[in-house]
Symmetry: C2
């Protein structure tokens, strides 16, 4: 019953009017003119609406099955995957040297949102591959790259990331999977990995597993972890497929959502593995994959909110129930559409204001990655490193919340499988957990990223906000509804950071007890900053005589909503943080 339409106009607005990308000094951005990006996004949107989204419910209902070691994906997934490959979407931002299209990450993120909104479980098959591609591209030898990347870019082979084991998820130091060196330079990999997304399936000819394992005799803990390539089928010198490797799917996880994606137990029984990067430096290589993956998960979070909002909105315009308290709006009908009711609007505006703000924020992150990757901008690299845990943690928490709000718009219908909203909620829920739980993101933010470059990176962020406010003082359209709230929110953020600095040294729990709130506080400031920029761009367009006044006025009104109704959360998070560690740590574990 759900439908999906790609938000092409909104994306175009962010790319060209807010970020002005075709004028930006980033190699590759010169190709991204309005017409080009529009054509790409519309094409992606067409595939998403017509092919991927109709399979969303099919995937949820059928799930995946395992029989005699073979995993079958839901009906239609393989055919749809082939279409995605044919369109060249898999390698959109991949290295042309290996057959990719070499597009900037920014454009890939837009397409990613569109595909994820349409069908998250489906899109994960290629999403995981992309992570594996990144790791091999960054750390593989030339031969490894030549062997694996062209097929992965084409989509003929897929990839996976194997980190978790039954006894360890977050704490990878506890990994038990062994990698025993062989005389020929390969390793025999033995152990069990769990929760491996797309670990086994029927959509590609080969699956390239990237596996964290320990070489016996290496250092204890995370310092003794290495990364290996373990192909499902061995690859002959001529590139053809050889013997089956000793890696098998031992079971499928039954789970709350993303049923269309196979979440596998993977058993490695002396499988042949190839070291990638240096011995014992596996964590570093894995982190290359994880930062991009975390940003991608942030996109998944708000993308599920976005499609849920679209469907909630359609319902709210269609469903007749009750009358506008200020006077009937649909006099000839039995009742007014529920969108007339203030509380329904409050609900819809929360969804809309978050989703559009989140999109700008995630695309800003992608823009920073491009600056880092394509022109070696170290400041951009540091800034996106700071923002990544926020993009992941904040956008997935709020994306899930948005899907829940959208479900609520439908009342009882929202709870039925028929209407499809409940699937968005169930699918969105995983984004708060995988690629590092959101609690872990908050620790990364407070424990590692705040201190990046001796605190210069976060100070640089504050400076950005300050400069923006200063530059726009006197801009009547921004001053009242945007600059003042942004200033107040930024002040809350700085106060919280100061609290950590003053107290966290003496007792790290003083900082760690507030890490989650800090992530949310920071997220709100980022979205407030995005909305202020979007309002500015919209006002410029109006001042310049743009014809689509409703579009730009709506942007400004939605931004005002965010500033008035969402941004005040910063003061609450600050109060929670400033209450310190004592309330959090007071109880003995036995007394909970």
């Amino acid at each position: 019953m759900t439908t999906y339409t790609a938000p092409v106009d909104d994306m175009q607005f962010i790319l060209h009017e807010v970020f002005g990308i075709s004028d930006a000094d980033v190699p590759g951005y010169d190709e991204l003119d309005r017409d080009f990006t529009k054509a790409v996004l519309e094409e992606a949107g067409k595939l998403a609406s017509e092919v991927l989204h109709p399979l969303n419910k099919v995937g949820d209902e059928q799930g995946c099955t395992l029989e005699n070691g073979v995993v079958r994906t839901p009906e239609g997934f393989k055919a749809a995957y082939d279409k995605v490959c044919e369109g060249g979407w898999i390698g959109l931002d991949c290295d042309p040297e290996y057959g990719g299209q070499g597009m900037p990450h920014l454009l890939n993120s837009c397409v990613g949102e569109i595909f994820v909104s349409a069908n998250m479980a489906f899109n994960m098959y290629q999403g995981l591959s992309h992570g594996a591609y990144n790791a091999i591209h960054a750390h593989g030898t030339d031969q490894q790259k030549q062997t694996y990347l062209p097929k992965m870019v084409e989509g003929k082979w897929s990839g996976t990331m194997n980190l978790t084991e039954p006894q360890c998820g977050t704490d990878l130091g506890l990994i038990r999977t062994k990698a025993e060196p062989q005389d020929d330079g390969t390793y025999k990999i033995t152990g069990q990995k769990i929760w491996i997304s797309a670990g086994e399936h029927d959509m590609t000819d080969n699956i390239v597993h990237l596996v964290l394992a320990k070489i016996p005799g290496g250092p204890e803990g995370v310092k003794g972890i290495s990364l290996f390539i373990v192909p499902k089928f061995m690859v002959n010198e001529d590139g053809s497929l050889g013997d089956r490797n000793a890696v098998t799917c031992g079971g499928l996880e039954s789970k709350m959502g993303i049923h269309g994606n196979a979440t596998c137990v993977m058993n490695y029984d002396g499988a042949t593995g190839f070291l990638i990067g240096e011995t014992h430096k596996g964590m570093r290589a894995m982190f290359t994959m994880m930062n991009a993956a975390r940003l991608g998960v942030g996109v998944q979070g708000y993308a599920q909110g976005a499609v849920a909002y679209q469907n909630a909105l359609a319902f709210a315009k269609d469903r007749l129930q009750g009358r506008d308290v200020t006077g009937a709006q649909n006099e000839t009908g039995p009742a007014d559409p529920i969108i007339v009711h203030p509380d329904v609007r409050r609900n819809l505006m929360d969804q809309k204001a978050f989703t559009e703000g989140a999109r700008a924020f995630a695309l800003w992150g992608s823009n920073l990655i491009d600056k880092s990757d394509r022109k070696g901008d170290a400041e951009a690299e540091a800034l996106v490193s700071l923002l990544t845990p926020i993009i992941k943690g904040f956008l997935t928490d709020k994306g899930f919340e948005t899907a829940v709000l959208a479900q609520q718009t439908l009342g009882g219908s929202g709870f039925t499988t028929e209407w499809g909203l409940e699937q968005f909620v169930r699918d969105a829920r995983i984004t708060m957990i995988y690629e590092g739980t959101n609690g872990i993101q908050s620790l990364d933010l407070v424990g590692r990223k705040l201190g990046l470059n001796g605190g210069k990176t976060v100070m640089g962020f504050f400076e950005l906000i300050k400069s923006f406010i200063k530059e726009n003082e006197g801009n009547a359209a921004l001053e009242d509804g945007f600059l003042s709230p942004l200033k107040a929110a930024s002040k809350d953020l700085q106060a919280a950071a100061t609290f950590f600095m003053q107290n966290g040294m003496k007792d790290p729990n003083e900082a760690l007890s507030g890490s989650y709130d800090f992530m949310h506080l920071f997220g709100h400031v980022c979205l407030g900053y995005m909305w202020a920029q979007m309002a500015k761009a919209a006002q410029s367009a109006l001042d310049g005589g743009a014809s689509d006044t409703a579009f730009y006025e709506t942007k400004i009104a939605t931004g005002r909503y965010y500033m008035a109704r969402q941004l005040p959360a910063t003061a609450m998070h600050r109060a929670r943080i400033e209450s310190g560690a004592a309330p959090v740590m007071a109880l003995d574990a036995a007394n909970f």
Copy 2:
């Protein structure tokens, strides 16, 4: 994989030390001494842990099936239901004249929480019956009462509430089901009702449907609705069952959660119905059922949070991952239990502080119902009428949120069906929707309840808080951590109410745009008030030399957490409310 233990000690603390019920001047409370309530709660807990909870997952996995008009409940449900009946639990608070045990509502709420935590889908079969019992008891003729109530109290027959139709949920004025008067004084009921919980099942001999329908020629809209008893099987004069009535189950709803409960499409094809209460006064009769039902749904909300918390806590104590940043706590093990980590504690404390505060709040509501029912206390009646939408709306929103937090405690395991946490989330979700969506609760609160008795009722609530603060000034244990935050929160609530009064008259949207936030603001003040009272009672026990110091100290510490970390939300809700209607109402529907 989940377990459940009834929170008997926590309930005993609230009943006897916070509310001092056996000394309270409410008829029937004199029987409720410590030993008696303990025995009842332990017995309920035993049934819940040993019989009902093991069926929770079974019910979720098997769901209900419809074949040839017959609905089968999951394996074991019927046998468990018989045990519940044998124990006399169905009629615990029912009128002794019809075979009930005549216990106060307060005790019934405790038992209700226990059964709902153990198995919400199962408990709904008797929960709905209880609503139907209430309506017949309040509005039925003597003959109707004699015919239906004894069997319902015994549990041999169950009851349902039939409100919703495809074209109307909230807006019952749009009801189309017809009730045509017959010469013998009965009515022929024709129409379709949807989302009827326990509409058809195999656990009882008969099902007593209470159905809203319109008698042709009556007033338009809600003023023309009457309430009818429509038994599945006609009842002969001697009480035996006669012919099958023309009411059938036309389908089962497939839904996100509560799979063990049959959610039915009910078709009435000229079924024989008996008017209950006066013609066209059906809404009034239905509201009798709904207030109690709404309070019951509030209990469901936090009860799902409570069982989820128990299981999250057990996981957090057991799962070894990472090290306490201030020094290893489990030196001989490979890692520390995750409960050592501040962010895990933050998560658990949010769950614990909400759940225990919510329990006190819901039991306060039940206490007020007893005062109203058993001694005709009009102030208590008005107060619980004011608090009911808050108990329903706030406790279910936060109960769901708590289940989501608990799921998060488990990381990836929380997303798997094996661990069972995700079921609590799916089951809890419906509580925010049925018996009036939480948006509707907030409209009831702001539109109807704030103005109750010309505003005297809400002023009386503020007076309660003020008196409590005044009485306890100088109580060192309370002053700092409890009284100041409560005062600040109460001030936010009064400011919000004032904003509505000053602006809502001119433009009702000014009040309605803030109704949802007001419900949450009010809910936080209520829980803050509960925690202040619990802290006071705990401190008294400590001062009086109670031996179980850990129990009481934990109560105070948990309360401090609530005041420091949760209560600051009131300022955010106030800011949202005071931003007024403009941001919410700015967009034309077409521009969303």
